[in-house]
């Protein structure tokens, strides 16, 4: 298979303009004749559904949550980047582009990233117009803060709830279209298969999570904005319901899956406290602006943090990276935390933690300023741990947070299945091997508000689509497959819970495919995962019936998909014999312990083709050229 990224020709700063001119248009009066399915209602899905409906398309939008307002974009805390240069501190589209390509450790497609930086400015305008209550200066202008991986202040924020406020903006735009009858909303409905007719995406099969009804939905195009797959690790900062089922089942229908091993470990999460742990809670990395990270200088120092004098502390990020200090990118901060804990200098009851200490900033700025900047985060920490960060340093440790990998898409965000588009975290496009902070919100909204509305029209205007209805054999087949899987789960007389398998898979993934990976460990994982998958299918217990609200049945379907996706993730990590961004292969590091890329052999996106359960997937490569940001060893020193 030849992967065509469809990047427009011409200078990089003109590519998107050129594309917008070249993309065919659907006449305004004809748009209502086309129907589009949008799966997912987070920043990408909701902004796409609202914008497409505003243009006049008939839109159906699906989410598994009880309301589109609850998608996990809502939990993003820190902010959203944009190259506005409102601070007059040297920012520009070029600089945001450069920072993002470099931050992604040179494994993203340049043309996409440049477009993202260009569009970033429109997103802020759009969100302000919707009433998103961004932080303001006293003169009424928008405020900014700085974030990891950048030396300018370009991050817009709404206290520690930026994702919530941006999502509510998109949700309200979506609800407006629902009220106008232009979007039909299907909450508590899960996509369980993608349906192709004549090789094109023509609809989906869903299960109503309240009644269990399996139904077919037909459309002229399908848009997936269903988020990432971090929950393959069981413990992550993702919501409990966040899942990979939509993208995985689309993958099994022919969409290539790119760079699955590019998973991001966030450096500032609350450490694990026990076996019952159900998820990990992120503390926004914006805290690194005012918090200093340290561990005791000596191994096994069990004194309480206040009894450790400055001379016995190691502010290891400031020491190793004087230029960026505590604001190094996430992958670098995470790896360094692991290193100091592996040295036996970790803190807290498990020894898997480092201090994030606000005391100096409190002394310098006063408690009121710190409370205004981070009050809700600090309250959350106090609620979970019972400790007061105004008095004692917070304990943090890295956790799985975001997945840069996802379904492969071309410049127009179309997957390798014609008529199926993938937006936001669900695709692989913009962040390379590591995403910078405050860039996920930017990408989700760029894709939904400002890219898909242009690119989907080109497909619809230039494709002759046969009339299809839900009686078509392809829909009947897909429905049968969904019902058979449900029946198989319910017929199992196993004794183990879905969660117990999910936890076992997660532990294996964290050990073998987490912060440090080796060929030996990954080879073991590639053997152990299929064994676990076999046991899962024969030993899992799923109570109840398929015709009711049945959470165990929902989870079982998702874990079945993780069991396959986990194997692909390990195979991808094994095939990439280099370290880059979030993918750290211990065999490939510089003498200083930094990620060592192999640009001659691995400067490509790895796009995998499904060949069947238990079959080796086929690897296709999209070569990546770096013409504008020169390949260099990343340095934050």
């Amino acid at each position: 298979m030849q992967l065509d990224a469809k990047v427009p020709s011409g200078p990089i700063e003109k590519k998107w303009d050129q594309a917008k001119f070249d993309l065919k248009l659907v006449n305004p009066a004809n748009k209502r004749k086309y129907s589009v399915i949008v799966v997912g209602s987070g920043l990408a899905g909701a902004s796409a559904a609202a914008s497409l409906a505003e243009l006049g398309y008939q839109v159906k939008c699906f989410c598994f949550q009880d309301s589109p307002r609850r998608a996990h974009s809502i939990a993003a805390q820190g902010g959203i980047n944009a190259a506005k240069n409102y601070q007059n501190d040297g920012d520009s589209v070029q600089r945001l582009f450069y920072d993002t390509v470099k931050g992604g450790d040179f494994r993203a497609r340049e043309a996409n990233v440049y477009r993202l930086a260009q569009i970033s400015v429109n997103i802020i305008d759009q969100c302000v117009a919707q009433g998103v209550p961004f932080a303001r200066e006293y003169g009424g202008a928008l405020a900014n803060r700085s974030f990891g991986g950048a030396q300018v202040s370009r991050t817009f924020y709404a206290r520690g709830q930026t994702g919530q406020q941006l999502l509510l903006g998109a949700y309200q735009a979506l609800e407006r279209q629902i009220g106008l009858g232009r979007v039909t909303m299907y909450p508590r409905t899960e996509m369980l298969d993608l349906v192709l007719v004549d090789g094109r995406a023509r609809g989906i099969v869903t299960r109503d999570l309240i009644t269990g009804e399996v139904a077919s939905h037909v459309a002229d195009a399908v848009v997936l904005g269903t988020g990432g797959y971090g929950n393959v690790f069981y413990l992550s900062t993702n919501a409990k319901g966040s899942n990979a089922t939509a993208i995985w089942r689309a993958h099994k229908r022919g969409a290539l899956f790119a760079n699955p091993c590019f998973t991001q470990i966030h450096p500032t999460c609350i450490p694990v406290s026990g076996d019952y742990q159900s998820k990990l809670t992120l503390m926004s990395e914006s805290l690194r602006n005012d918090g200093r990270i340290w561990v005791p200088l000596k191994k096994g120092d069990t004194r309480s943090p206040s009894d450790i004098p400055p001379s016995d502390r190691d502010y290891y990020l400031e020491r190793r990276y004087p230029a960026f200090g505590n604001l190094v990118p996430r992958d670098v901060a995470s790896r360094n935390a692991k290193t100091v804990c592996d040295e036996g200098r970790g803190v807290g009851p498990t020894g898997l933690g480092v201090y994030l200490d606000l005391s100096e900033s409190i002394g310098r700025l006063g408690i009121a300023t710190i409370r205004e900047r981070y009050g809700n985060l600090i309250d959350m920490y106090e609620r979970i741990t019972g400790e007061d960060p105004y008095k004692t340093p917070m304990r943090i440790y890295p956790a799985i947070h975001y997945t840069m990998g996802g379904l492969w898409v071309d410049y127009n965000l179309m997957s390798t299945i014609p008529g199926m588009y993938v937006l936001g975290e669900a695709n692989f496009s913009d962040h390379g091997a590591n995403r910078l902070g405050a860039s996920a919100l930017m990408q989700g909204l760029a894709d939904g508000y400002f890219i898909i509305p242009y690119t989907i029209g080109d497909y619809l205007a230039s494709t002759k689509l046969e009339k299809v209805d839900a009686a078509h054999a392809a829909f009947a087949d897909a429905e049968r497959g969904v019902k058979e899987q449900t029946a198989r789960f319910l017929a199992s007389d196993g004794k183990r819970t879905v969660d117990s398998f999910h936890k076992e898979l997660g532990r294996l993934m964290w050990e073998k495919c987490g912060m440090g990976r080796t060929a030996t460990g990954l080879k073991e994982a590639v053997v152990k995962i299929p064994e676990l998958r076999e046991r899962f299918w024969s030993e899992v217990a799923v109570p109840g019936t398929g015709e009711e609200l049945n959470r165990e049945l929902e989870k079982a379907g998702r874990v079945a998909d993780y069991m396959e996706l986990a194997e692909l993730t390990c195979r991808d990590a094994l095939a990439r014999n280099e370290s880059c961004g979030g993918h750290f292969r211990e065999e490939y590091q510089t003498p200083e312990g930094e990620a060592l890329r192999d640009d001659d052999n691995y400067s490509y996106a790895a796009a995998w083709e499904w060949k069947g359960t238990g079959q080796e997937p086929a690897l296709h490569k999209e070569p990546l050229a770096f013409e504008h940001v020169h390949l260099a060893q990343r340095s934050y020193k």
Binding site: Y86, P133, Q164, A173, Y276, S278, M380, R383, I384, P543
Partner: protein, 258 residues
């Protein structure tokens, strides 16, 4: 680490039509570091292994922001700890031997779907009626072309912090949705961008709130007391003020024949 035991009395109801009732469960080993929902996870794991139906409850982000979770614990929405959703409530706040009664939100506008799960679709319909600023994609001026005084922006943000969980309705003796609706109206009507639709917004949203079967506000203040985001009851006063003003203006315009 402290561990202790509890007795739960959980509302079990198979579906909307089932009358439902309380079922008691002994929970022998509760760790003080567990969240309330992690404690329920442990109970459910035990039920599944025995072949019983696990307790259904809504939850998703488990960090207090998505607004999915929520039920009554001994008559308090989200439990005894103020300013906290039930997913962020930790077991260190409970004592050995306590008996806890868990019930779903109870309001005519929030039908029970199963056990502790209710349908809050009415909230979405209130937003669809007018809880937005009409700003079609692409039509916005530069972000700094609209200056927003910091105090107005901060007050709008205070109201916009609402997570739509429904605790205000559940706690209100009248099952009123005034705090939820008032919070969204305050968020949008306090901002310059919200002015063109301010009057229409409040009339439409209040109308929808009544259509959905929520009760009237009699200022008992229960909503403010249990709101996990501590939305102040002033948003209701503001909604009433905006509503009266919008209604009077509308009547006047009508009598002028506008």
């Amino acid at each position: 680490m402290r561990t202790f035991s509890l007795t739960l009395h959980v509302w079990r109801q198979k579906n909307t039509k089932d009358p439902g009732g309380f079922v008691a469960y002994k929970v022998p080993e509760v760790s003080e570091h567990m969240s309330f929902l992690e404690m329920l996870d442990v109970v459910n794991e035990g039920l599944i292994v025995k072949g019983d139906d696990p307790i259904a409850f809504d939850h998703d982000c488990r960090e207090g922001i998505c607004g999915t979770c929520g039920f009554m614990i001994n008559g308090d929405a989200h439990g005894p700890h103020r300013g906290t959703t039930v997913c962020q409530l930790h077991m260190r706040h409970f004592q050995d031997g306590e008996e806890l009664w868990l019930e779903p939100w109870r309001a005519a506008a929030f039908p029970v779907m199963k056990d502790l799960v209710v349908d809050r679709g009415a909230f979405d319909r209130i937003i669809a009626a007018g809880g937005f600023i009409s700003a079609p994609t692409g039509s916005a001026p530069d972000g700094n072309a609209i200056l927003v005084p910091k105090p107005a922006s901060d007050r709008a943000m205070d109201a916009a912090a609402c997570i739509g969980c429904g605790a205000c309705v559940a706690m209100c003796p009248n099952s009123a949705a005034a705090l939820f609706t008032g919070a969204k109206i305050a968020h949008l009507n306090l901002l310059p961008q919200g002015q063109p639709e301010a009057a229409a917004r409040v009339v439409a949203m209040v109308g929808q709130m009544e259509t959905e079967g929520f009760g009237h506000c009699t200022s008992t203040g229960q909503c403010e007391a249990v709101c996990p985001k501590e939305i102040p009851i002033e948003v209701i006063a503001r909604m009433n003020w905006d509503f009266i003003k919008a209604s009077a203006d509308k009547r006047e315009a009508k009598s002028r024949g506008d």
